[in-house]
Symmetry: C2
Subunit: 142 residues, 2 copies
Amino acid sequence: MRFTHEQFRELAAKHGLAVTHQRQVVYEAVIASHGHHSPENIYAAVRRRIPSISLATVYNNLRLFIACGLLREVTPHASTLRVEGNLKPHHHLVCSRCKSVQDIEGDFIDFNRLSRQLPGGFDLAQPLIEVFGLCRRCRAKN
Amino acid sequence: MRFTHEQFRELAAKHGLAVTHQRQVVYEAVIASHGHHSPENIYAAVRRRIPSISLATVYNNLRLFIACGLLREVTPHASTLRVEGNLKPHHHLVCSRCKSVQDIEGDFIDFNRLSRQLPGGFDLAQPLIEVFGLCRRCRAKN
DNA sequence: GGTCGTTTTATACTGATTCTCATTCGATAA
DNA sequence: TTATCGAATGAGAATCAGTATAAAACGACC
């Protein structure tokens, strides 16, 4: 799904963001490349369309998009920020060793039980679950 | 529970680690202070007993303890490493905003369903689950 | 006491991210 | 259109966590 300028304009308006060329290209770069991406990755992709863009601009806009919910921050177990554009409910499978992240779907959480265990005031409005284990590759390495 | 030299000696022997004074003090500092700690925190605590200790030594030993399972690495959503000494099965509640981590107990995961969803080869031997949401404080800030 | 492998220390270095500030852009009013 | 003003951008310096390196200290063993 290719984003038209119109679609981005609408999204931006909904979240009170000014529309700039850089902003749009950064956003499209994340959406176009499915998966979990580092700011550097996105910077590289965006530079193909705007060679003069600054890394700081990419960071600024990623933070902005995360803050207003246009993008999700993925666990930076890799010690560097990762973002994803997939806002549909899903969970993450994270390798404790190599820190790789895979999406996982499915209904394996008992939210009733979970909410009974929650400390007062904790808000699970958009729950994101991360399950840690060893990915196939790291397991093979023993 | 205060760790005696004897207890640490046994643990170290079990994991094939040499016993050094620094190593013992680092380990005790983590165990003594329950919760989730950054290397800097631990460094500060250890320096009260060994003023000349180097930060690198703290890092070295924390990595070592994590590698042999004496400590657990906590999600560095805070973008900096955290460790905990609590090895009993439990899960984490992480605030997406301020990155604080609380422990949570309870049996809200359906591991049968989960393992049906797992991609081949993913090893869930010591599953750790992290549930993201908004803590009371951040929620109050709206 | 001498030797060897391990650990510690001090410090330099790297890489990710943020900060600063001058410049440019974009929306709006004239 | 043109002028204006606040917001966004670009360039590069600064910061900060963590790692690498190399020399010194330690400790077990002969």
